[in-house]
């Protein structure tokens, strides 16, 4: 079977999909083998402040997007002014999350890092997008963060924004804006 036929379901789309390769996890598997995971480059934005790019674990079983409260400081937000809180079972432990509405970005897989406004303008005119940005309520997890990463991309805050296809077989993740054909299925 050719590589293109194995992954065609990931890329057949009316609008361009962003394709990301799986990446090695920092922990070996239970048999000592390398573990590959769907990790995407994301960042959080609060006005003119933002985090660096962070590896976000694509977790379709997660009800909502959770991030470490370590990121609140970088964003200049106070978690005392939250929009609700709750306990969640995540990564094998119970975590307490405080919810805040925040802007998130998914960065382009080719990540051209266009710093000049003129270059960005030219690229945009050619159809290039540095990132996709959306706004959502997510959970900031306090104290003990039982994950090695800082971002878990769940249903609220990620899967409700995009059409996402994950293939452990092809070691790839495809992300696209939902188009009319996709919406018509539901």
């Amino acid at each position: 079977m050719s590589p293109s036929s194995t992954t065609s379901a990931l890329v057949e789309h009316e609008r361009p999909s962003w394709m990301y390769p799986y990446r090695q996890d920092a922990q070996l598997g239970w048999r000592g083998e390398t573990v590959l995971r769907p990790l995407l480059p994301v960042s959080l934005v609060n006005g003119d402040r933002g985090t660096p790019r962070l590896a976000g674990l694509v977790a379709s079983g997660a009800d909502l997007t959770l991030v470490s409260n370590l990121l609140a400081e970088q964003l200049g937000i106070g978690l005392e002014d939250y929009e609700g809180e709750g306990d969640h079972l995540a990564a094998g432990g119970v975590v307490r999350a405080k919810y805040k509405t925040i802007d998130l970005r998914l960065h382009s897989p080719d990540d051209l890092c266009l710093h000049s406004p003129d270059a960005a303008q030219d690229a945009a005119e050619d159809g290039y997008r540095q990132w996709r940005q959306w706004r959502s309520k997510i959970g900031f997890v306090q104290d003990c963060w039982p994950s090695n990463g800082l971002v878990v991309l769940g249903n609220v805050g990620f899967f409700d924004q995009f059409e996402v296809a994950i293939s452990a077989f092809a070691h790839s993740v495809a992300v696209a804006d939902p188009d009319d054909r996709f919406r018509a299925k539901f």
Binding site: A55, G92, C113, N148
Partner: protein, 65 residues
Amino acid sequence: MEASLEPIRTDFTGYEGQYVALDWRTGEIVLADGDPHVVLREATGLDHVVVQGRVPYPDEPTRIY
């Protein structure tokens, strides 16, 4: 766009217990520190650099997420 993508691999050996940031194109570790705030601060504004998180010790429970 290529439909078949090779996974990006990283050698985390020697960074156990530290937070790391990678060159996202190659998987090479470019920043490491025991304090996550240091890695987050130093990674800010760097091109192609992504903070992956903490490298666990080998005897820590295996996460299945």
